[in-house]
């Protein structure tokens, strides 16, 4: 029972970790990423289609990452190039993903909403899980010990200083946004070809926002963010496990209270009631290249 719970916690946390790490690059560079949800969904769709075509989960997840990058590029054009409001454009990107995925499904497979299911031999068994934790370590080292990692933080904290040092702030942000699309796309892939057997409409069900919450809970740092993802994943796994379990009175367990817990905790953390979390200073502000 305990071992099962740990295993399922690790599994359901995987897409959250990918998405949250993607969000980290984007937000540390100063670009809010409300569009994580849409990139996750687009990635899940791209991965399912790619796997159905190529019969390989690896090529499939490459397609998922590509799909995430495409959506991130559209987002980047609007928020970096056109300096659109990052929250407005992010919400629009989410809507676009919610609209485009069933639209393409209908064209490709003539069904509304979901792809045909993928045979188990062509799906991932556990690779994304290990990959995600490897990535956590890489991101940790990257942000802390490499110059490019430093650039990303500076683009989000003191863009003027970075610009004065001769680094093109908006170029750093572009790379960060695209990386975030790729990672969120991989997160989507682990939803559609690892945790489930096909793409279905709106299958992300708010996981992009949950990843965003984990990012805030983890103070925009790789390791704490990954542990926040685990915590949220645990709540999710508990909730699945306790569904329909009878309490002492014979009443079914109200799992809704476990479901809302991560969101409640995020609000409390953000408000400084439990620990404290500070956003990158220049988060959400467009940079005018002079």
């Amino acid at each position: 029972m305990i071992r099962q719970l740990i295993a399922s916690t690790l599994r359901v946390s995987t897409p959250l970790i990918f998405a949250a790490l993607g969000g980290m690059f984007c937000e540390r560079s100063g670009v809010i990423n409300i569009a994580l949800e849409g990139m996750l969904l687009f990635g899940a769709f791209g991965a399912a289609v790619g796997t159905l075509v190529s019969h390989s989960p690896w090529l499939g997840s490459a397609c998922g990452m590509g799909a995430g990058v495409v959506l991130a590029a559209i987002y980047g054009v609007f928020v970096i190039r056109l300096r659109a409001d990052q929250i407005v454009a992010g919400m629009a990107i989410n809507m676009l993903a919610m609209g485009l995925t069933p639209f393409f499904c209908k064209i490709l497979y003539d069904v509304t909403g979901s792809t045909p299911s993928i045979p188990i031999a062509e799906r991932f068994q556990s690779a994304p899980l290990y990959l995600s934790w490897g990535l956590v370590v890489i991101c940790f080292l990257w942000m802390k010990y490499t110059p490019t990692g430093l650039w990303v933080s500076f683009a989000g904290e003191h863009p003027e200083a970075l610009g004065a040092a001769g680094i093109r702030v908006n170029r750093v942000r572009w790379v960060a946004v695209l990386v975030s699309g790729a990672l969120a796309g991989m997160g989507g892939a682990s939803l559609s070809i690892f945790l489930s057997s096909s793409f279905s409409r709106d299958m992300t069900a708010g996981r992009g926002f949950m990843a965003l919450a984990a990012l805030i809970f983890g103070k925009w740092k790789p390791l704490p963010t990954a542990f926040a993802c685990l915590l949220f994943g645990f709540a999710d796994a508990m909730q699945i496990r306790l569904q329909g379990v009878a309490l002492w009175g014979g009443e079914p367990m109200p799992v809704q209270f476990i479901q809302i817990l991560p969101y409640l905790v995020t609000i409390l953390v953000l408000a400084g009631f439990v620990g404290h979390s500070r956003a990158p200073k220049a988060l959400g502000t467009a940079f005018h290249e002079g």
Binding site: L82, V88, L96, F257, Y263
Partner: protein, 341 residues
Amino acid sequence: MRKVLQPILAVALGLALGLAVTRIAGESPWHVLQILWKSAFGSGYDFGMTLFYTTPLIFTGLAVAVPFQAGMFNIGAEGQLTLGALAAAVVGAVWPGLPWPVAPVLATLAAILAGTIWGGIPGWLRAKRGSHEVINTIMLNFIAAGLASYVTLYLLKNPDTQNPETRSIGAGYLIHQFGIFEGAPVSLALPLAILAAVFVWILLWRTVLGYEMRAVGQSEPAARAAGINSGRIRIMAMSVAGGLAGLVGVGEVLGNAGKFRLGFSPEYGFIGIAVALLGRNQPVGVVASALLFGALHKGAADLDLETEHVTRELSLILQALIILSVSADGLWSWMKKRGEA
């Protein structure tokens, strides 16, 4: 002139792009446009359904516009309207015997109150704890969905059906539906929405509170220097917004379903963001763009049947493209102001 022209251009651009996408599906964009038009305005019933969708969008559009004028972003209309509708249904299901004029008024007040509280929380958190309302309202949307699901499935479950909905409200709660729309559930909620728009206009441009809201929205430090309690203003703006969003429950629960149905809203709260943006956060603009988005929503509903490959989700694509076109342009002046603040 530019003020009116820009949104119209943005809509044209968004529609053109979105319809061009239907070419990929092998449909003629012109044909799709005709279906959209016919299905939104083709008959009294169709037009009635368009107005039925327009009504909640006026409320949510206003719920985004008021905080926007005060420099805040309300992504929480979805949660506010969920709890507003739930509150109206709870009142109606717990006291089903109340007579007509009292009952709907009470349920409406409950909807406003629930929305106000749910909007006031992120306002208070922003004012007193400094945490950003965007994340807080997104989180509160999920919490509201969880609460609504709990109340619906555990406390007030309708015993007669497997559908996730509450017991029916008493007959005295139901409000008048207009007969001329051939059965489309256009109720007194529509004039109520227009009244709400008038209320917002008066609030923003004819009262001291509204003046203070706009002052905080344009430059918070300047407003504070002028002696305005910006924290209080932010709480007020978000509370008013929540109350407006809560009123969605009137049309849905008292004017249509007669109960609370989980997932009744096709993301009215999010479409409200688009409505407010396109309407330039002005009440008149909000009403006009709510009608446009209502028509898009209704128009797209028939695409599943009327075309080979285009589904109703086209309305989401169109909405997204319209928002992107507006945001790339229309928001710049507002952001410049905020950037200088």
